[in-house]
Symmetry: C2
Subunit: 318 residues, 2 copies
């Protein structure tokens, strides 16, 4: 059942001994929402505990320093930033049919919860947490404010992405006006700091990049031979798909991965105006305008030629 | 003479045929301020022209598309975001003693102008341009709003750095509420896009990085031998000094450059709490808390050892 902000606030006021579930592969928004909500419930005199199927990355430690919560038999189950019960990881079985309230901003939410506070226009679930706190008349602690700020910052790429809204900036302004937030240090941790492993991966990707069509197209070919030579796993390179789009003038970034059966899995990303879904459809695939894919067979050289030719035709039409 | 916002607005209303000077090595803030001010003057019916000693980088082209301005004999000279006449480049001789109004946010402003509107608490000169427009009661065009947004975004690192204020977020919110700004595309151009050359340089820097003291310290040694082998100029590596600090856990980033005379020029940067100025002072140098330098003689191995040992002692004390 969809509920509004007021109803969600009423529910929170009356709840008891709550577990707050965050999603697997936890990020700044679900962690921020979880720990901010725990602070808010504490101010209402309600015990709570944050749980997650996965460990939190180290850079989020400042949010958990207020503690994960008390030990009790849960009476209330709240899910934050979880669009689908599949995203609960190994907590799914225990909780998927028991969620009393879900607070979320994903338009893809499958409405699994008893009560759903959903606002797909919010850039982050943390924006909803902020509005709930206001509705509840709760005075935020600096820690709670920092959690909310972090959630908004991470989901908007520090106010950089399309999803950033007027409200995102307004909430950031209000949080910074009324609270001591180490925003510069938080942003450095969230956006600038990389692991040594990640740095190495970026180097590999940069090395593998081939340029086509006046540098408008870059291609990375990850063959089994290359992986063996480099001693890395294909999955390690997953997060690097956006790197080619960072290069000046590049409109389409293509990643080709050799499969066990010899076919090639193609991922295509577009920087701005090019519709890569349409391009991939011509090759029997599909996807979103800015991120699509297809499967192509043939020798590596044939596949590369076919891809470049198809992209060339599309760029000419546009 | 220092003037306030109201006085600056009065001056702008009464001025005629204005040249607007932006600083050398132009960035998003001075370009944004220059072209936003040109829009504002146009709305007041005043002719103006933006000038700069250097060419603008291509990524700022969307700001100049309204035109650089009319051709006339200037009656008014306005400098934006220029703290010192030295920063006028080859325009200095002609204009340094003729600036009627300077609009700036650098606390280091040497007060060279007849009238100075200075607010060191502003994150960007563009924040002052926005406030001037409000004071003048001018309705901004979307182009003008985009220029102001870009100036604030670039000087705050997209709202990431310490200098970001409540006001920065508030102005961004107001601009986005009232205007069509392609903020995601602008931010991509400003922050994500890199030239192929820059990407290569980052690769070289990553390759040269050595790790010490449990990876808390990274060192890059740029010897003449290495430069010859790579076929690059030492200056090409200048903008890469902050890369070592992006590595998780790194507290001090050291760059060593071999000089012609065989001595080593050392630059030290700190991520957070370490005072590298104090460390460099021990080696006969100095600087700022987070960016300092010194000159060390000896063989490369001796210099490296001396540096690591000095940093080690400082980290232990902290």
């Amino acid at each position: 059942m969809r509920i509004n902000l007021k109803e969600a606030a009423e529910f929170l006021k009356s709840c008891k001994d709550a577990v707050i579930i965050t999603h697997q592969s936890p990020d700044g928004d679900c962690i921020g929402a979880g720990f901010a909500l725990r602070d808010i419930l504490a101010m209402l005199g309600i015990r709570s505990r944050v749980i997650c199927s996965d460990e939190f990355p180290k850079r989020y430690a400042f949010m958990t320093k207020t503690g994960w919560g008390e030990d009790f038999e849960p009476q209330t189950v709240i899910a934050v930033d979880i669009a689908d019960t599949q995203l609960m990881g190994n907590l799914r079985e225990e909780y998927e049919n028991k969620v009393d309230l879900c607070i979320d901003h994903h338009i893809s939410n499958i409405e699994y919860a008893e009560r759903l506070l959903l606002d797909p226009d919010a850039a982050a679930t943390c924006e909803l947490i902020y509005e709930l706190a206001k509705e509840l008349g709760v005075e935020l602690t600096d820690h709670c404010a920092a959690c909310i700020y972090t959630g908004i910052a991470t989901d908007t790429g520090c106010f950089k992405y399309e999803c950033t809204t007027v409200r995102s900036h307004e909430i950031a302004a209000e949080l910074m006006r009324n609270h001591k937030i180490r925003y510069a240090a938080i942003n450095r941790e969230m956006f600038d700091v990389k692991s040594i492993g990640r740095l190495k991966m970026e180097r590999i990707v940069t090395d593998l990049m081939e340029y086509y069509l006046d540098n408008k197209v870059t291609m990375i070919c990850i063959t089994n031979k290359i992986l063996n030579e480099l001693g890395v796993d294909a999955n390690d390179l997953d997060g690097c798909a956006s790197i080619p789009l960072q290069v000046e003038g590049v409109e389409v970034g293509i990643t080709i991965k050799e499969r066990e059966d010899g076919a090639f899995k193609v991922s295509m990303r577009s920087a701005d105006d090019v519709n890569v879904s349409a391009i991939c459809q011509k090759l029997g695939g599909g996807g979103h305008v800015k991120a699509a894919g297809c499967l192509v067979t043939g020798t590596l050289e044939e596949v590369k030629e076919k891809l470049v030719e198809t992209v060339r035709q599309s760029l000419e039409v546009e």
